[in-house]
């Protein structure tokens, strides 16, 4: 009996001694892991129900991950008695949660928040392989958020990392294609802001990276991708000779075989409209239309030949070619619509408006969701306004309004976003001298549109008030409305910037 009691006493002492240690770290970690598990369960449900787009699951998952991210550090920092393993585990939980939260924000189109969360995740994963991916995701988010300043900073950092981090240049592990496009995004950004010097600087750095890719992984898929990226960059900078040289170099590569026809078409179009070498362009286009017969590339080549003929002193031949394209049922409808539009423009120039307007209306009837159809109402309205037929211009504006509003309310279509229809509608109204009507329409009609389109419409309305109607007061009012209605969107940021610019002359 004494022995039994002794054993019990030893066990009790051992347990109490073990229990005297603080287990707060283990308890906190367990609680955090439990939250993470539940949040990930919701995340999995979202992935499963992605096509149905379960918004309530998305909100619940965001709230769940937010709870973990918010509990980042206990008050007063990490307690000294937490074991290093526990601290490491907690950091990992935080990191996983931040990435998940950023992805969910992205799905919810909260691009600014997504960018910020990717930044926090990338900072905690600094100098790890995940770091670059996270920064790339941040760039994507910032691009969609329209946060051009932060986008430029992030893209510059990624380019620097690609330039300096030798671990990314291991011959056995090629660089992911996606990084090759970062300089393109940044260059595009500088072009849009008309910052030519910065564009040139980025283009030079990109060329160096693409050269190094070709040296590190010769005759590989990544080298072909680098060549395509270089070509795009050269086209952006209107470096036509460079573009032709790059295409010539990349064409023999086996890795571009599936897009060889498209590359040859680009080469021909650069020759035709870039270097104006129409004879070589035509020869090349004829070859493409034969070599890739029946494909979209061949049809596009036939269209290009027709346009070259229209402008190169063979209009009848060109028109005949366009009519043949229009009648060819095997040709993609966007190319057939473009052929009709080119023909309509040609007959309009030849002062055969009655014939032109019939073709334009046929485009709207036959192919209403093509870019050509989108331009047709503008051409009709512009013509009547230019020729002084104001009644006809207004009548045409009325039908244009119906056409554009229907498409904007649908949110655009597969190939054309609603914003393009909005821009074209604005141009049509402006061509008819109805700036006040379109400014007011954009402001009032937005409630029926998707939030992004409605917010964009308010920005455009404000621009018309300030730039066309010279009414900065109204412009400010509309911008304030945009900020108030869509505070989380990229448009709110744009609106604030516009308001600052509107206030600058007043301050001066």
């Amino acid at each position: 009996m004494v022995k039994v009691r002794l054993v019990f006493a030893v066990c009790a002492v051992a347990l109490v001694a073990g229990g005297c240690r603080s287990h707060d770290g283990i308890r906190a970690r367990y609680g955090r892991e439990k939250l993470l598990w539940r949040a990930q369960l919701l995340e999995r449900r979202i992935n499963l129900a992605f096509l149905r787009g379960s918004s309530s699951d998305l909100a619940s998952a965001i709230a769940a991950f937010q709870q973990i991210v918010d509990s980042d550090r206990p008050a007063g920092g990490v307690p000294a008695d937490w074991s290093p393993q526990t601290v490491r585990d907690m950091k990992k939980i935080q990191s996983v949660s931040r990435v998940a939260l950023a992805t969910l924000y992205f799905l919810q189109k909260r691009y600014h928040d997504a960018g910020e969360m990717y930044r926090r995740a990338a900072n905690s994963a600094r100098s790890t392989p995940a770091d670059l991916d996270l920064r790339m995701s941040r760039v994507r988010s910032l691009y969609l958020a329209g946060d051009t300043d932060s986008l430029a900073v992030s893209a510059e950092r990624i380019i620097s990392r690609i330039e300096t981090d030798n671990s990314l240049w291991t011959p056995s592990r090629p660089l992911a294609d996606v990084y090759l496009n970062v300089p393109l995004v940044l260059a595009q950004q500088y072009l849009e802001t008309r910052n030519r010097a910065q564009f040139k600087r980025v283009a030079q750095r990109a060329e160096t990276i693409y050269d190094r890719v070709a040296r590190t992984w010769p005759d590989s898929a990544v080298t072909a991708s680098a060549a395509i990226a270089r070509m795009n960059l050269q086209m952006m900078g209107k470096n036509w000779t460079g573009t032709l040289k790059t295409i010539r170099e990349v064409l023999p590569s086996q890795y571009v075989a599936p897009m060889r026809g498209e590359l040859e078409l680009i080469r021909a179009e650069v020759l035709a409209w870039g270097t104006k070498d129409t004879a070589r362009a035509r020869k090349l286009l004829t070859a493409i239309s034969h070599d890739y017969d029946g494909s979209r590339t061949a049809a596009a080549a036939r269209f290009d030949i027709a346009v070259l003929e229209l402008h190169g002193g063979q209009p009848d031949q060109g028109v005949a070619r366009l009519v043949a394209l229009e009648a060819d049922k095997s040709v993609d409808e966007s190319i057939r619509a473009r052929a009709m539009l080119a023909r309509a423009r040609h007959v309009e120039k030849a002062n055969r408006w009655d014939e032109a307007v019939v073709v334009l209306r046929r485009i709207m009837g036959l192919y209403p969701d093509t870019e050509a159809a989108m331009e047709a109402p503008l051409i009709i309205t512009q013509h009547y306004a230019r020729t002084g037929h104001h009644d006809l211009a207004l009548q045409s504006l009325k039908s244009a309004r119906e056409y554009y509003l229907t498409r904007i309310e649908r949110g655009g279509n597969r190939s054309i976003p609603a914003s393009d229809f909005t821009d074209m509608m604005i141009e049509t109204y402006l061509s008819a001298g109805k700036a006040d009507a379109i400014a007011s329409l954009l402001e009032s009609r937005g409630a029926r549109w998707k939030p992004a389109d409605a917010a964009g419409a308010l920005i455009r309305s404000a621009a018309i008030y300030s730039d066309v109607l010279d009414n900065p007061g109204q412009a400010r009012r509309v911008l304030e409305k945009c900020i108030e209605m869509y505070p989380e969107s990229r448009y709110a940021k744009l609106a604030r910037r516009e308001m600052e610019q509107l206030q600058q002359p007043a301050a001066n």
């Binding site: 283990i26 970690r29 439990k34 598990w37």
Partner: protein, 273 residues
């Protein structure tokens, strides 16, 4: 000894169990052991709860290792952590409590009130408890080790089934020992010898009763063997609920088993059946 007489004996045992059901003193020890088990499961399941973490965290670490301190691996490991504790509890607390219940149950079918305490027999009860547990576990453990060497397949399943049979036989040999102490306050060795004698008198009915009890407990056991799948495909907390339900089922089946066994030990004539 015909199958018919086995069935009559089993029915006799079950009728004893039914008669004991209405005696609080007979039921309460089984309820008490169930409460102890539930407390132990909750201690392990809610090991981070304030007030108990000082004892439960080291316990979970010792029983399940470092990975058992993480969610949800902790719940995957929970049945495995609880198993050795349960066996120890059964030997040290369960068997003495069952004996106390059987002693009270015997009053209903033996008609003899035994007011003397079982406390002096506690060491003997723990001893027979340990023997009973070892006998019950040895067969399945050995077969599990052998099955592990043969890998997956029919052979492995056959070896595991053999282990279950061996477990039932092992229990059958010594299941009467706590009953012997409860009814006649024997020493541990005397109770074990008595158990073997009673088993040799009622081999068929004893095995049938134990097989039925094993079958009743089988679904819960099988479910908990796949705790990882429960955690991944359903809710991790479901493991706790299955274990708690298993305790309730086990308390009922243990009550039926031991009171029926006691009924068999006392004998039909004496009970007036």
């Amino acid at each position: 000894m015909s199958v018919e007489s086995w069935i009559v004996d089993v029915l006799h045992g079950l009728s004893c169990a039914r008669r004991s059901l209405f005696r609080a003193g007979a039921v309460l020890p089984f309820v008490a052991f169930a409460a102890v088990q539930i407390g132990m499961i909750l201690l392990l399941a809610e090991f981070t709860a304030p007030g108990i973490h000082w004892i439960s965290v080291p316990l979970v670490r010792v029983l399940g290792g470092e990975h058992a301190l993480h969610y949800p691996m902790h719940l995957v490991a929970l049945p495995g952590m609880y198993e050795p504790l349960y066996l120890a509890l059964l030997a040290v607390v369960g068997i003495p409590l069952y004996a106390a219940g059987v002693r009270q149950a015997a009053v209903t079918f033996q008609g003899r009130d035994t007011r003397s305490s079982l406390r002096p027999s506690w060491i003997a009860l723990v001893t027979v408890g340990v023997v009973y547990v070892v006998a019950a576990v040895a067969g399945p453990t050995l077969s599990a080790v052998l099955a592990g060497h043969t890998g997956e397949g029919a052979a492995s399943a056959g070896i595991r089934a053999m282990g279950v049979v061996l477990g039932i036989v092992g229990q059958a040999l010594f299941v009467y020992s706590p009953v012997a102490i409860a009814l006649s306050a024997q020493s541990a060795t005397g109770a074990l010898r008595q158990s073997l004698r009673w088993f040799s008198t009622y081999p068929g009915p004893t095995l049938i009763l134990l097989a039925v009890v094993a079958l009743i407990n089988l679904p819960g056991t099988l479910l908990l063997e796949h705790a990882d799948r429960i955690v991944l495909k359903f809710s991790p907390e479901l493991v706790i609920y299955i274990m708690l339900a298993g305790v309730v089922v086990e308390a009922i089946s243990a009550f039926v088993l031991f009171t029926s066994i006691a009924g068999l030990a006392v004998g039909r004539k004496q009970v007036g059946w």
